[in-house]
Symmetry: C2
Subunit: 256 residues, 2 copies
Protein backbone atom coordinates (compact mmCIF):
# COMPACT_ATOMS: atom_id res chain seq x y z
CA UNK A 1 0.00 0.00 0.00
CA UNK A 2 1.36 3.43 -0.89
CA UNK A 3 1.92 5.96 1.83
CA UNK A 4 -0.68 8.69 2.35
CA UNK A 5 0.19 12.07 0.85
CA UNK A 6 0.34 14.74 3.55
CA UNK A 7 0.48 18.45 2.76
CA UNK A 8 2.10 20.57 5.47
CA UNK A 9 1.72 24.33 5.78
CA UNK A 10 1.66 27.02 8.47
CA UNK A 11 1.40 30.77 9.02
CA UNK A 12 4.61 31.45 10.93
CA UNK A 13 6.67 30.85 7.79
CA UNK A 14 8.64 27.91 6.42
CA UNK A 15 11.63 28.47 8.73
CA UNK A 16 9.62 28.55 11.99
CA UNK A 17 10.45 25.83 14.56
CA UNK A 18 6.78 24.83 14.76
CA UNK A 19 6.52 23.61 11.17
CA UNK A 20 9.71 21.60 11.62
CA UNK A 21 8.12 19.77 14.56
CA UNK A 22 5.03 19.08 12.43
CA UNK A 23 7.06 17.85 9.45
CA UNK A 24 8.90 15.39 11.72
CA UNK A 25 5.62 13.82 12.80
CA UNK A 26 4.11 13.84 9.31
CA UNK A 27 7.19 12.09 7.88
CA UNK A 28 6.53 9.17 10.22
CA UNK A 29 3.03 8.76 8.77
CA UNK A 30 3.26 9.45 5.07
CA UNK A 31 4.86 11.12 2.08
CA UNK A 32 5.25 14.79 3.00
CA UNK A 33 5.18 17.87 0.78
CA UNK A 34 5.57 21.29 2.38
CA UNK A 35 4.16 24.48 0.83
CA UNK A 36 4.47 27.33 3.30
CA UNK A 37 4.82 31.11 3.37
CA UNK A 38 8.26 32.67 2.88
CA UNK A 39 7.54 35.18 5.67
CA UNK A 40 5.45 35.29 8.86
CA UNK A 41 1.73 35.47 8.10
CA UNK A 42 0.19 35.48 11.57
CA UNK A 43 -3.19 37.13 11.80
CA UNK A 44 -3.78 36.93 8.05
CA UNK A 45 -7.06 35.08 8.52
CA UNK A 46 -8.59 33.80 5.29
CA UNK A 47 -6.81 36.41 3.15
CA UNK A 48 -6.02 35.52 -0.46
CA UNK A 49 -3.89 37.34 -3.02
CA UNK A 50 -5.94 38.41 -6.02
CA UNK A 51 -4.43 41.71 -7.21
CA UNK A 52 -0.83 40.46 -7.39
CA UNK A 53 1.04 37.49 -8.83
CA UNK A 54 2.42 34.88 -6.45
CA UNK A 55 5.93 33.50 -6.34
CA UNK A 56 6.62 29.85 -5.63
CA UNK A 57 10.12 28.50 -5.10
CA UNK A 58 11.47 25.03 -4.33
CA UNK A 59 13.68 25.23 -1.25
CA UNK A 60 15.92 22.99 0.81
CA UNK A 61 14.74 23.40 4.39
CA UNK A 62 14.01 19.87 5.62
CA UNK A 63 16.14 16.76 5.08
CA UNK A 64 14.69 14.56 2.32
CA UNK A 65 11.37 16.43 2.24
CA UNK A 66 10.04 18.26 -0.81
CA UNK A 67 9.45 21.87 0.23
CA UNK A 68 8.24 25.03 -1.48
CA UNK A 69 8.03 28.58 -0.20
CA UNK A 70 5.34 30.92 -1.41
CA UNK A 71 5.14 34.72 -1.35
CA UNK A 72 1.45 34.71 -0.38
CA UNK A 73 -0.79 33.95 2.56
CA UNK A 74 -1.39 30.53 4.16
CA UNK A 75 -4.59 30.14 2.10
CA UNK A 76 -2.62 30.97 -1.07
CA UNK A 77 -0.16 28.19 -0.10
CA UNK A 78 -2.94 25.60 0.04
CA UNK A 79 -4.35 26.72 -3.32
CA UNK A 80 -0.88 26.62 -4.94
CA UNK A 81 -0.20 23.22 -3.39
CA UNK A 82 -3.41 21.78 -4.80
CA UNK A 83 -3.38 23.37 -8.25
CA UNK A 84 0.34 23.69 -9.04
CA UNK A 85 2.68 21.67 -6.79
CA UNK A 86 0.47 18.59 -6.35
CA UNK A 87 -1.61 18.98 -9.49
CA UNK A 88 -3.66 15.88 -10.21
CA UNK A 89 -2.52 14.10 -7.02
CA UNK A 90 -4.91 13.13 -4.25
CA UNK A 91 -3.98 14.82 -0.95
CA UNK A 92 -4.94 12.54 1.94
CA UNK A 93 -4.45 15.04 4.74
CA UNK A 94 -3.48 18.68 5.17
CA UNK A 95 -1.90 19.73 8.46
CA UNK A 96 -1.12 23.31 9.39
CA UNK A 97 1.17 24.56 12.16
CA UNK A 98 2.36 23.83 14.70
CA UNK A 99 1.39 27.42 15.41
CA UNK A 100 3.38 29.41 17.96
CA UNK A 101 0.48 30.50 20.21
CA UNK A 102 -3.16 29.64 20.79
CA UNK A 103 -5.80 29.45 18.09
CA UNK A 104 -8.57 28.50 20.50
CA UNK A 105 -11.95 30.27 20.63
CA UNK A 106 -12.46 33.21 18.23
CA UNK A 107 -8.76 33.18 17.33
CA UNK A 108 -9.80 30.76 14.60
CA UNK A 109 -11.13 33.81 12.69
CA UNK A 110 -7.81 35.68 12.70
CA UNK A 111 -5.54 32.67 12.37
CA UNK A 112 -3.67 32.01 9.14
CA UNK A 113 -2.92 28.51 10.46
CA UNK A 114 -6.59 27.63 10.80
CA UNK A 115 -7.60 29.41 7.60
CA UNK A 116 -5.12 27.26 5.66
CA UNK A 117 -6.70 24.14 7.17
CA UNK A 118 -10.19 25.54 6.45
CA UNK A 119 -9.21 26.16 2.82
CA UNK A 120 -8.09 22.54 2.45
CA UNK A 121 -11.39 21.39 3.97
CA UNK A 122 -13.31 23.57 1.48
CA UNK A 123 -11.49 21.62 -1.24
CA UNK A 124 -12.66 18.35 0.26
CA UNK A 125 -9.32 17.55 1.92
CA UNK A 126 -9.31 16.38 5.54
CA UNK A 127 -7.45 19.00 7.51
CA UNK A 128 -6.15 19.81 10.99
CA UNK A 129 -4.64 22.98 12.40
CA UNK A 130 -2.30 22.47 15.36
CA UNK A 131 -1.26 25.15 17.83
CA UNK A 132 0.90 25.16 20.96
CA UNK A 133 0.11 27.68 23.69
CA UNK A 134 3.63 29.11 23.62
CA UNK A 135 4.44 32.18 21.54
CA UNK A 136 8.21 32.01 21.96
CA UNK A 137 10.61 31.11 19.16
CA UNK A 138 12.29 28.67 21.56
CA UNK A 139 9.04 26.90 22.43
CA UNK A 140 9.54 23.18 23.12
CA UNK A 141 7.32 21.35 20.63
CA UNK A 142 8.38 17.85 21.74
CA UNK A 143 5.61 17.35 24.32
CA UNK A 144 3.10 18.30 21.61
CA UNK A 145 4.34 15.81 19.03
CA UNK A 146 2.74 12.60 20.40
CA UNK A 147 -0.65 14.36 20.45
CA UNK A 148 -0.16 15.68 16.95
CA UNK A 149 0.63 12.17 15.79
CA UNK A 150 -2.39 10.70 17.55
CA UNK A 151 -4.77 13.16 15.88
CA UNK A 152 -3.16 12.77 12.45
CA UNK A 153 -3.31 8.98 12.76
CA UNK A 154 -7.01 9.24 13.64
CA UNK A 155 -7.71 11.44 10.62
CA UNK A 156 -5.84 9.08 8.30
CA UNK A 157 -7.36 5.87 9.70
CA UNK A 158 -10.87 6.83 10.61
CA UNK A 159 -12.06 10.15 9.21
CA UNK A 160 -15.26 11.13 10.89
CA UNK A 161 -18.38 11.62 8.84
CA UNK A 162 -19.68 15.09 9.71
CA UNK A 163 -17.05 17.53 8.59
CA UNK A 164 -13.39 17.05 8.21
CA UNK A 165 -11.71 20.02 9.86
CA UNK A 166 -10.22 20.07 13.36
CA UNK A 167 -8.82 22.95 15.42
CA UNK A 168 -6.37 21.34 17.85
CA UNK A 169 -4.67 23.35 20.61
CA UNK A 170 -2.05 21.94 22.95
CA UNK A 171 -1.35 23.35 26.41
CA UNK A 172 2.18 24.41 27.37
CA UNK A 173 2.81 21.65 29.90
CA UNK A 174 5.39 18.95 30.59
CA UNK A 175 4.41 15.65 28.88
CA UNK A 176 3.29 13.96 32.09
CA UNK A 177 0.86 16.75 32.94
CA UNK A 178 -1.18 16.60 29.72
CA UNK A 179 -4.35 14.71 30.61
CA UNK A 180 -5.52 13.71 27.14
CA UNK A 181 -7.63 14.83 24.19
CA UNK A 182 -10.93 16.57 24.81
CA UNK A 183 -13.65 17.27 22.25
CA UNK A 184 -14.92 20.83 22.66
CA UNK A 185 -16.94 23.65 21.27
CA UNK A 186 -15.32 27.00 20.45
CA UNK A 187 -15.43 29.24 23.57
CA UNK A 188 -17.34 32.50 23.17
CA UNK A 189 -14.44 34.61 24.38
CA UNK A 190 -13.15 37.94 23.09
CA UNK A 191 -10.18 40.28 22.88
CA UNK A 192 -10.15 43.43 25.00
CA UNK A 193 -7.95 45.60 22.87
CA UNK A 194 -6.35 48.97 22.62
CA UNK A 195 -3.90 50.75 20.37
CA UNK A 196 -0.52 51.93 21.58
CA UNK A 197 -0.12 55.37 20.06
CA UNK A 198 3.30 56.74 19.18
CA UNK A 199 5.31 58.94 16.83
CA UNK A 200 7.66 57.62 14.19
CA UNK A 201 11.15 59.14 13.69
CA UNK A 202 9.60 61.70 11.31
CA UNK A 203 7.08 62.77 13.95
CA UNK A 204 4.05 61.17 12.28
CA UNK A 205 1.54 59.36 14.48
CA UNK A 206 1.12 55.59 14.40
CA UNK A 207 -1.18 53.09 16.11
CA UNK A 208 -0.14 49.60 17.13
CA UNK A 209 -2.64 46.95 18.16
CA UNK A 210 -2.34 45.25 21.52
CA UNK A 211 -4.84 43.33 23.59
CA UNK A 212 -5.76 40.85 26.22
CA UNK A 213 -7.75 37.67 25.67
CA UNK A 214 -10.74 37.47 28.01
CA UNK A 215 -12.96 34.43 28.43
CA UNK A 216 -16.30 35.01 30.12
CA UNK A 217 -17.77 31.80 28.68
CA UNK A 218 -18.24 29.67 31.81
CA UNK A 219 -18.92 26.34 30.06
CA UNK A 220 -16.71 23.36 30.84
CA UNK A 221 -17.29 22.10 27.30
CA UNK A 222 -15.16 24.80 25.64
CA UNK A 223 -11.66 24.70 24.19
CA UNK A 224 -10.47 27.40 26.60
CA UNK A 225 -11.70 25.36 29.58
CA UNK A 226 -10.00 22.22 28.28
CA UNK A 227 -6.67 24.00 27.81
CA UNK A 228 -6.82 25.62 31.25
CA UNK A 229 -7.46 22.19 32.72
CA UNK A 230 -4.58 20.37 31.11
CA UNK A 231 -6.27 18.86 28.06
CA UNK A 232 -5.48 19.03 24.36
CA UNK A 233 -8.58 20.71 22.90
CA UNK A 234 -10.13 19.37 19.69
CA UNK A 235 -12.83 21.53 18.07
CA UNK A 236 -14.44 20.27 14.87
CA UNK A 237 -14.96 23.40 12.79
CA UNK A 238 -16.82 24.33 9.62
CA UNK A 239 -17.25 26.95 6.94
CA UNK A 240 -21.02 27.40 7.21
CA UNK A 241 -21.38 30.67 9.15
CA UNK A 242 -25.18 30.77 8.91
CA UNK A 243 -26.76 31.58 12.26
CA UNK A 244 -29.72 29.20 12.03
CA UNK A 245 -31.39 30.40 15.24
CA UNK A 246 -31.34 33.94 13.89
CA UNK A 247 -32.56 32.72 10.51
CA UNK A 248 -35.61 31.18 12.17
CA UNK A 249 -36.27 34.37 14.12
CA UNK A 250 -35.91 36.60 11.06
CA UNK A 251 -38.20 34.37 9.02
CA UNK A 252 -40.81 34.68 11.75
CA UNK A 253 -40.36 38.46 11.82
CA UNK A 254 -40.72 38.62 8.04
CA UNK A 255 -43.94 36.64 8.10
CA UNK A 256 -45.40 38.58 11.06
CA UNK B 1 -33.77 62.08 20.55
CA UNK B 2 -30.21 62.06 19.27
CA UNK B 3 -29.45 60.46 15.96
CA UNK B 4 -27.98 56.94 15.95
CA UNK B 5 -24.22 56.75 15.38
CA UNK B 6 -23.42 54.74 12.26
CA UNK B 7 -19.91 53.54 11.43
CA UNK B 8 -19.29 52.98 7.72
CA UNK B 9 -16.42 50.94 6.30
CA UNK B 10 -15.64 48.74 3.29
CA UNK B 11 -12.89 46.73 1.63
CA UNK B 12 -12.72 48.37 -1.78
CA UNK B 13 -11.15 51.48 -0.25
CA UNK B 14 -12.47 54.86 0.83
CA UNK B 15 -12.65 56.26 -2.72
CA UNK B 16 -14.70 53.37 -4.18
CA UNK B 17 -18.15 54.28 -5.59
CA UNK B 18 -19.80 51.60 -3.41
CA UNK B 19 -18.94 53.23 -0.09
CA UNK B 20 -20.22 56.56 -1.39
CA UNK B 21 -23.59 54.96 -2.11
CA UNK B 22 -23.64 53.49 1.40
CA UNK B 23 -22.67 56.79 3.05
CA UNK B 24 -25.56 58.53 1.23
CA UNK B 25 -28.06 56.11 2.73
CA UNK B 26 -26.48 56.13 6.19
CA UNK B 27 -26.56 59.94 6.29
CA UNK B 28 -30.36 59.81 5.92
CA UNK B 29 -30.61 57.63 9.03
CA UNK B 30 -28.02 58.87 11.50
CA UNK B 31 -24.75 60.55 12.31
CA UNK B 32 -22.14 58.97 10.06
CA UNK B 33 -18.43 58.40 10.67
CA UNK B 34 -16.38 56.67 7.98
CA UNK B 35 -13.21 54.71 8.74
CA UNK B 36 -12.11 52.83 5.65
CA UNK B 37 -8.95 51.46 4.02
CA UNK B 38 -6.74 53.81 1.99
CA UNK B 39 -6.29 51.11 -0.69
CA UNK B 40 -8.29 48.17 -2.07
CA UNK B 41 -8.45 45.30 0.45
CA UNK B 42 -10.60 42.77 -1.40
CA UNK B 43 -10.00 39.18 -0.37
CA UNK B 44 -8.30 40.15 2.86
CA UNK B 45 -10.71 38.07 4.94
CA UNK B 46 -10.36 38.55 8.68
CA UNK B 47 -6.72 39.67 8.43
CA UNK B 48 -5.39 42.03 11.08
CA UNK B 49 -2.11 43.94 11.23
CA UNK B 50 -0.03 42.89 14.24
CA UNK B 51 3.61 43.16 13.13
CA UNK B 52 3.39 46.72 11.81
CA UNK B 53 2.06 50.07 13.00
CA UNK B 54 -1.08 51.46 11.41
CA UNK B 55 -1.62 54.91 9.97
CA UNK B 56 -4.87 56.79 10.39
CA UNK B 57 -5.57 60.08 8.64
CA UNK B 58 -8.58 62.38 8.61
CA UNK B 59 -9.63 63.00 5.00
CA UNK B 60 -12.14 65.05 3.04
CA UNK B 61 -13.93 62.58 0.79
CA UNK B 62 -17.64 63.05 1.54
CA UNK B 63 -19.49 66.36 1.96
CA UNK B 64 -20.12 67.12 5.64
CA UNK B 65 -19.19 63.60 6.79
CA UNK B 66 -16.32 62.81 9.16
CA UNK B 67 -14.01 60.39 7.35
CA UNK B 68 -10.73 58.67 8.14
CA UNK B 69 -8.53 56.52 5.96
CA UNK B 70 -6.46 53.73 7.46
CA UNK B 71 -3.40 51.91 6.12
CA UNK B 72 -4.66 48.52 7.35
CA UNK B 73 -7.27 45.91 6.58
CA UNK B 74 -11.06 46.30 6.92
CA UNK B 75 -10.90 44.58 10.34
CA UNK B 76 -8.16 47.02 11.41
CA UNK B 77 -10.49 49.88 10.39
CA UNK B 78 -13.23 48.66 12.71
CA UNK B 79 -10.80 48.24 15.61
CA UNK B 80 -9.36 51.74 15.03
CA UNK B 81 -12.85 53.19 14.75
CA UNK B 82 -13.91 51.69 18.05
CA UNK B 83 -10.76 52.29 20.08
CA UNK B 84 -9.35 55.50 18.60
CA UNK B 85 -11.76 57.47 16.38
CA UNK B 86 -14.98 56.82 18.34
CA UNK B 87 -13.37 56.08 21.71
CA UNK B 88 -15.97 55.98 24.49
CA UNK B 89 -18.89 56.52 22.10
CA UNK B 90 -21.62 53.96 21.58
CA UNK B 91 -21.80 52.78 17.97
CA UNK B 92 -25.42 51.92 17.10
CA UNK B 93 -24.73 50.22 13.79
CA UNK B 94 -21.78 49.31 11.60
CA UNK B 95 -22.34 48.96 7.88
CA UNK B 96 -19.74 47.71 5.44
CA UNK B 97 -19.76 48.05 1.66
CA UNK B 98 -21.45 48.40 -0.66
CA UNK B 99 -19.06 45.81 -2.02
CA UNK B 100 -18.39 45.66 -5.75
CA UNK B 101 -19.23 41.98 -6.32
CA UNK B 102 -20.97 39.12 -4.52
CA UNK B 103 -20.19 38.02 -0.98
CA UNK B 104 -22.80 35.27 -1.00
CA UNK B 105 -22.06 31.68 0.04
CA UNK B 106 -18.47 30.87 1.07
CA UNK B 107 -17.29 34.26 -0.20
CA UNK B 108 -18.04 35.44 3.33
CA UNK B 109 -14.78 33.74 4.37
CA UNK B 110 -12.59 35.66 1.91
CA UNK B 111 -14.46 38.95 2.06
CA UNK B 112 -12.92 41.95 3.79
CA UNK B 113 -16.36 43.59 3.66
CA UNK B 114 -17.99 40.83 5.67
CA UNK B 115 -15.00 40.41 8.01
CA UNK B 116 -15.28 44.08 8.97
CA UNK B 117 -18.96 43.57 9.80
CA UNK B 118 -18.11 40.36 11.68
CA UNK B 119 -15.47 42.22 13.71
CA UNK B 120 -18.05 44.84 14.72
CA UNK B 121 -20.44 42.05 15.73
CA UNK B 122 -17.70 40.44 17.85
CA UNK B 123 -17.49 43.77 19.68
CA UNK B 124 -21.22 43.66 20.34
CA UNK B 125 -22.12 46.16 17.61
CA UNK B 126 -25.00 45.34 15.28
CA UNK B 127 -23.53 45.03 11.81
CA UNK B 128 -24.45 44.49 8.17
CA UNK B 129 -22.29 43.85 5.13
CA UNK B 130 -23.81 44.91 1.80
CA UNK B 131 -22.72 43.71 -1.62
CA UNK B 132 -23.95 44.35 -5.16
CA UNK B 133 -23.48 41.62 -7.75
CA UNK B 134 -21.58 43.91 -10.09
CA UNK B 135 -17.79 44.04 -10.06
CA UNK B 136 -17.43 47.06 -12.33
CA UNK B 137 -16.21 50.45 -11.13
CA UNK B 138 -19.17 52.01 -12.95
CA UNK B 139 -21.73 49.78 -11.26
CA UNK B 140 -25.06 51.53 -10.67
CA UNK B 141 -25.68 51.41 -6.93
CA UNK B 142 -28.93 53.38 -7.03
CA UNK B 143 -31.26 50.39 -7.36
CA UNK B 144 -29.53 48.89 -4.31
CA UNK B 145 -29.98 51.93 -2.08
CA UNK B 146 -33.66 51.48 -1.11
CA UNK B 147 -32.89 47.90 0.01
CA UNK B 148 -29.84 49.02 1.95
CA UNK B 149 -31.97 51.61 3.69
CA UNK B 150 -34.71 49.11 4.49
CA UNK B 151 -32.26 46.69 6.13
CA UNK B 152 -30.46 49.45 8.04
CA UNK B 153 -33.77 50.83 9.26
CA UNK B 154 -34.74 47.35 10.46
CA UNK B 155 -31.46 46.93 12.35
CA UNK B 156 -31.81 50.35 13.98
CA UNK B 157 -35.50 49.97 14.88
CA UNK B 158 -35.89 46.32 15.71
CA UNK B 159 -32.66 44.42 16.23
CA UNK B 160 -33.36 40.74 16.26
CA UNK B 161 -32.44 38.71 19.30
CA UNK B 162 -30.30 35.82 18.05
CA UNK B 163 -27.19 37.35 16.60
CA UNK B 164 -26.64 40.73 15.13
CA UNK B 165 -24.77 40.22 11.89
CA UNK B 166 -26.28 40.14 8.42
CA UNK B 167 -24.74 39.31 5.04
CA UNK B 168 -26.88 41.14 2.47
CA UNK B 169 -26.36 40.66 -1.27
CA UNK B 170 -28.25 42.57 -3.94
CA UNK B 171 -28.78 41.28 -7.48
CA UNK B 172 -27.74 43.37 -10.47
CA UNK B 173 -31.24 44.15 -11.73
CA UNK B 174 -33.32 47.20 -12.63
CA UNK B 175 -35.32 48.43 -9.59
CA UNK B 176 -38.63 47.06 -10.83
CA UNK B 177 -37.26 43.54 -11.22
CA UNK B 178 -36.08 43.10 -7.62
CA UNK B 179 -38.72 40.96 -5.92
CA UNK B 180 -37.93 41.71 -2.28
CA UNK B 181 -35.85 40.57 0.68
CA UNK B 182 -35.41 36.87 1.32
CA UNK B 183 -33.98 35.27 4.48
CA UNK B 184 -31.52 32.53 3.52
CA UNK B 185 -28.83 30.16 4.62
CA UNK B 186 -25.34 30.35 3.15
CA UNK B 187 -25.16 28.16 0.01
CA UNK B 188 -22.63 25.34 0.14
CA UNK B 189 -20.97 26.37 -3.11
CA UNK B 190 -17.29 26.48 -4.02
CA UNK B 191 -14.66 27.98 -6.30
CA UNK B 192 -13.18 25.88 -9.08
CA UNK B 193 -9.82 27.54 -9.41
CA UNK B 194 -6.60 27.51 -11.31
CA UNK B 195 -3.46 29.58 -11.55
CA UNK B 196 -2.47 31.43 -14.69
CA UNK B 197 1.26 30.84 -15.01
CA UNK B 198 3.52 33.41 -16.63
CA UNK B 199 6.96 34.95 -16.72
CA UNK B 200 7.73 38.44 -15.45
CA UNK B 201 9.92 40.85 -17.49
CA UNK B 202 13.02 39.34 -15.79
CA UNK B 203 11.99 35.84 -16.86
CA UNK B 204 10.98 34.63 -13.39
CA UNK B 205 7.83 32.53 -13.08
CA UNK B 206 4.69 33.83 -11.40
CA UNK B 207 1.26 32.38 -10.58
CA UNK B 208 -1.96 34.38 -10.63
CA UNK B 209 -5.17 33.07 -9.14
CA UNK B 210 -8.31 32.81 -11.24
CA UNK B 211 -11.45 30.82 -10.79
CA UNK B 212 -15.09 30.15 -11.39
CA UNK B 213 -17.81 30.08 -8.75
CA UNK B 214 -19.81 26.85 -8.89
CA UNK B 215 -22.98 26.18 -6.92
CA UNK B 216 -24.03 22.56 -6.65
CA UNK B 217 -26.22 23.26 -3.59
CA UNK B 218 -29.72 22.63 -4.94
CA UNK B 219 -31.66 24.14 -2.03
CA UNK B 220 -34.12 26.96 -2.70
CA UNK B 221 -33.39 28.32 0.76
CA UNK B 222 -29.86 29.54 -0.08
CA UNK B 223 -28.51 33.00 -0.80
CA UNK B 224 -27.32 31.94 -4.25
CA UNK B 225 -30.82 30.71 -5.14
CA UNK B 226 -32.39 33.94 -3.89
CA UNK B 227 -30.03 36.10 -5.96
CA UNK B 228 -30.55 34.01 -9.09
CA UNK B 229 -34.28 34.42 -8.63
CA UNK B 230 -34.36 38.18 -8.26
CA UNK B 231 -34.34 38.55 -4.46
CA UNK B 232 -32.08 40.47 -2.13
CA UNK B 233 -30.51 37.74 0.02
CA UNK B 234 -30.22 38.21 3.79
CA UNK B 235 -28.09 35.65 5.66
CA UNK B 236 -27.74 36.03 9.44
CA UNK B 237 -24.15 35.01 10.16
CA UNK B 238 -22.07 34.24 13.21
CA UNK B 239 -18.56 33.74 14.51
CA UNK B 240 -19.07 30.33 16.14
CA UNK B 241 -17.47 27.93 13.68
CA UNK B 242 -18.01 24.83 15.83
CA UNK B 243 -19.41 21.96 13.81
CA UNK B 244 -21.85 20.63 16.43
CA UNK B 245 -22.88 17.56 14.44
CA UNK B 246 -19.24 16.56 14.14
CA UNK B 247 -18.67 17.32 17.82
CA UNK B 248 -21.43 14.86 18.73
CA UNK B 249 -19.96 12.22 16.43
CA UNK B 250 -16.42 12.69 17.75
CA UNK B 251 -17.62 12.52 21.35
CA UNK B 252 -19.33 9.23 20.54
CA UNK B 253 -16.16 7.94 18.86
CA UNK B 254 -14.10 8.97 21.87
CA UNK B 255 -16.40 7.13 24.27
CA UNK B 256 -16.64 4.01 22.08
Amino acid sequence: MSKPLILVTNDDGIVAPGIRALVEVAAELGEVVVVAPDSPQSGKGHAITIHDPLRLKKVKVFTDIEAWECSGTPVDCVKLAKHVVLKDRNIDLCVSGINHGSNASINILYSGTMSAAMEAALEGIRAVGFSLLDFSFDADFRPAQPWVKKVMQFMLDRPFKHGQLLNVNIPKLPPTEIKGLRMCRQADARWVEKFVEGRDPSGHPYYWLTGEFVNEDQGNDTDVWALENGYVSVVPSMHDLTNYEALQELTNLQQA
